[in-house]
Structures are given as C-alpha cells and as structure tokens.
Symmetry: C2
Subunit: 170 residues, 2 copies
DNA sequence: TACCTCATGTAATACGTTACATGATTAG
DNA sequence: CTAATCATGTAACGTATTACATGAGGTA
C-alpha cells in the first residue's frame, strides 16, 4: 500500500503527469521503492477515483497532469504520522546466508566476496550521485540527502560485515 | 520465488512437516523472509508436485513429513551459486524520510526519534536472542550467527543515522 | 468433557512483474 | 521523413495477505 503514498508524496511537491512521476521515480525513489510503469498508471487511476488526486491540466499526446487534493494531502500526513513503519523487510541476500552450509567453504566465501563487491559498487554509485546533485536548502534537498546518507552508511556497514563474515568461514 | 528456496534450505538440514517449518520460520527466518501459514502449505504442495521434496513419513492428524530430494538440493545449490541476489530492497521506513517536508520539523524529528527507539529495541532483542542460543560449531550455528551479527550491525548503524538525521532538521 | 495444541487446507483479494499494444509530437 | 521520445493504457500471470474452515490428539 506504499506505492500510493510514494505517488502522493511526489505530487505534494508539484503537479505532474504519470510520465513525469515515472522519470522522477527512476532518479530518486527507485532505490527505496521500485515500481513499474504499469503499476504507476494503474495506481494513479485508483487515486483519482478515490479523490486523492485530480486531473488539473491536459497536454499533448493525451498527457494528464495530476494535482494533489486536500484529501490526498491528509492521507499522506496520516501515513507519515499515524501509521507504524514496522514493515517486514525481505532480503534474499541474507536468506542465502542461512544456507551457505550446503556449499563448500570456498563457494560460501565467494558469495560473501560478491556481497563485498556489490556494496562497494553501490557505495561508489551513491557517492557519485551525491556529487552530481546541486544540494540546496529546500526540504527536498535536505531529506534527499538524509536518505542518501543512509545508503552510504548502509553499504559501508554491509561491506565490513561481509568481509568479517568471510573470515568466520572455514 | 525465494520462499521456495527458504523451504528447500530448511529441509536440507532435516526432514520436517509444514507445521514444523512454520515454527522454525517464526524463530529464525521470519526476520529476513516473512511468510504466512497459507503460503507455506501451498508452496510445499507445489514443491512436492515439482519433485523437489517428497513425503517421507505420515503421522497423526494428517501430518506429512517432507524430505528434500536430489532435485531439490540441486535447485537449492543453483539458487545459492548461480543466481544474482536482488538488491531491490523496499523500505517504507526510508520512503517516509523523503516526504518529511510535509510535516512540521517537530513531527519530522519525532518520526526519526521513533526510528532511533525502534533500532534500539531490535538491537536489544537480537542481543538477547544471541545470549539465549547455545552456539556450536555446526554449519547452522555459524551461519545463524553471521546473519544475527548483520542484524546487530544494521540496527546500530540505523540508530546512529537516525540520531544524526534528527540533527539535520530545523 | 472441555480446552489447547497440532495439523492441514481453500477462497478471496491485493499487490507486483512482464509483456503487449497503440499512437502523437518533436528533433534532426 | 524517420527515429526517438513522450505518453497512456490493458492482459496475463505470479506472489503475498487475510480470512475462513475443519478436525484429530493430548492433557487437566
């Protein structure tokens, strides 16, 4: 049920079309909440039916620009303050760790080495993203940077853990 | 597609019934791959149909004990070594961070304070779990401890990040 | 005998992914 | 005039959640 809130959140900044939202997802939210094109257009229709967003302008090629309604903003605020974020997080990366015993020690260490490398690469990717963005003082910049910092710390942590873990296996 | 591998993984240790697997999930894998009762029984039927597990014993109350077949073990090994782990991790916790700008600074800091507390509690829960378990040298103990260590480091990281983040908001 | 735990299953619904399908507008 | 980009949508399928439904066996 969070894709809907992601869309409401993006629309709280400024009105946008499905296509716009798709592009903005790719460059920001995709890291924390991946979604496909199909899913977005479907969800936008549902949100419009529910009165949380409304078509505020039409453009060429059937473009429909959506604007957040008061009901939509209320729903967004409620999600942010009134619901517990205790969401179950699935990790196939960690799931595999439980079963490394069915492999040879070499294979198991190989898997952990892959994780080390993956973490390094993601870390570097985020570093470059950080440098490429012109950070301002606006709310978006502040919170975007906070999320990015999470990614950096997370990947640094995971890298160190994977290296430590490889040492535990003999 | 990972629930199936979680079940194959558990059955690689020893034969078990759906009910047994359900209990073992609750006390170990639930943290990395939550699954419901319905889902498990359905998946076990599919795995049996696919020849990856087989009914090795029947007990009272219709109990069916499943055993991993050679095909099942091969599939498990293939998943571990031959498939790339998805780093597609959804996090509604982090998603909210992007939109804290629609709240007052007090509310935003309140949210981050909740995350700090949540991380502390999870950390403590894992510490207690760590102490309550009699760790041996068997593969299960080694890999279970590695996964647990990840949880500890992750929550420590998240706590520090949430405290830092609260300081970024004015 | 009554209650708890063991034990399995199905149905309805929601959410997510992949693929298919179509067409308008703009830039070179 | 051709290709890329803009722009929207539907269909089929797979996975996940919630609720419903049933009953055997052990124990107080």
């Amino acid at each position: 049920m969070s894709l809907r809130h992601a869309l409401l959140g993006l629309l709280s900044e400024r009105p946008a079309s499905g296509y716009d939202l798709l592009k903005r997802f790719e460059t920001s939210l995709a890291n924390v909440w991946p979604a496909t094109q199909s899913q977005m257009y479907t969800e936008l229709s549902k949100l419009a039916d529910a009165g949380m967003i409304s078509v505020s302008a039409q453009g060429p090629r059937g473009r429909k620009e959506y604007t957040l309604t008061d009901e939509g903003l209320a729903e967004l605020r409620h999600w942010l303050t009134g619901t517990k974020p205790q969401r179950n997080t699935r990790s196939d990366i960690l799931l595999r760790v439980f079963f490394l015993g069915v492999l040879t020690p070499e294979q198991a260490r190989g898997y952990l080495a892959e994780l080390t490398e993956m973490s390094e690469q993601e870390y570097e990717g985020l570093r470059q993203l950080e440098e490429s963005i012109d950070w301002g003082d606006d709310p978006l910049s502040v919170h975007g940077r906070i999320a990015l910092e999470y990614g950096l710390r997370f990947n640094a942590m995971r890298r160190e853990w994977a290296e430590w873990a490889a040492g535990q296996i003999r």
